[in-house]
């Protein structure tokens, strides 16, 4: 077993175990911490694959940004420590069975792929990636992605305004749920 394979095994096992932890944890904050380790494992896999920019982006955006949102969302909406909603046996059987069936199907499809040999030439780095997103193709015949980049920019602006509008603090004049006011 080469060093590459051992590294892949470690990273993949860490990600898979953490993903399982997200599913089986009943406390929402524990799920969030498992999700944190899963995201770090996937980030490590990006570095392993040679996509340094994506690994860094995953760390910054997911681990640094989205996880803070999720953890604070979880803490703001639980009513006490270790607050959890129990999952019934029917839910586990139905949800788990559906997922297992889909997993078996996807594994069968994945193993039918012809494995391309791992090329050791480096992936295009941050420079070619940025130029492609700005509409300057690396080689003349290549597709550039200026329009998706602009759409994503506008989308982020819209999302920013919508999130600020939806989550703003407000008091309703009349309340049909009296118990909701101390939340």
């Amino acid at each position: 077993m080469t060093f590459h394979d051992a590294l892949f095994l470690i990273l993949a096992t860490a990600s898979a175990v953490s993903a399982l932890g997200v599913v089986v944890s009943s406390s929402i904050i524990r799920s969030a911490i498992w999700l944190l380790f899963m995201l770090m494992g996937v980030s490590g896999l990006y570095f392993f694959l040679g996509a340094e920019f994506l690994g860094a982006a995953q760390l910054i955006v997911y681990v640094g940004g989205t996880m803070v949102l999720v953890v604070f969302g979880g803490m703001l909406t639980t009513r006490g420590p270790f607050d959890h909603v129990p999952v019934g046996l029917v839910g586990w059987v139905l949800g788990g069975g559906l997922s297992l069936a889909l997993f078996a199907l996807l594994v069968q499809a994945s193993l039918s792929f012809v494995s391309h040999p791992r090329t050791d030439t480096a992936l295009p780095g941050t420079g070619p990636l940025g130029l492609t997103l700005l509409g300057v193709p690396e080689t003349p015949g290549q597709t550039a992605y200026l329009l998706p980049f602009e759409i994503v920019s506008i989308h982020l602006l819209v999302v920013l305004i919508a999130a600020a509008y939806l989550a703003r603090a407000k008091r309703r004049p009349t309340s049909t749920h009296p118990e909701a006011d101390h939340g």
Partner: protein, 104 residues
């Protein structure tokens, strides 16, 4: 000797996807459902990056699409949490079983 190539990444990604789907199906907490969506998006992203590595014609495109997915996932998480906080302000819970009165 077993060489871990493209299929190994696809299998790992399928496992993450199945975990995310189980999260979606079993969790009753809206934040837990959001975590399931994050798992699924990460599984898809891992496929993109693995394809960028192993498929010669996909070297730049795989990374571009992965960047777009990361950005859209962050935006989706922000809006979803804003909606959940709004729901919590009105109902004092984020249990999705209690969201049945969200009509018109």
């Amino acid at each position: 000797m077993v060489e871990f190539g493209f299929p190994a990444f696809l299998v790992l990604s399928a496992f993450l996807f199945a975990c995310g789907l189980t999260c979606l199906a079993t969790k009753r907490n809206a934040i837990g459902i959001l975590m399931g969506v994050e798992l699924i998006l990460n599984a898809a992203n891992l496929n993109f990056v693995a394809a960028a590595r192993f498929v010669p014609t996909f070297r730049l495109e795989g990374q571009v699409f992965a960047v777009l997915v990361i950005v859209l996932a962050a935006a989706e998480a922000a809006v979803a949490l804003a909606i959940f906080l709004n729901f919590y302000n009105n109902h004092a819970t984020v249990n999705v079983e209690n969201a049945t009165d969200l009509k018109g």
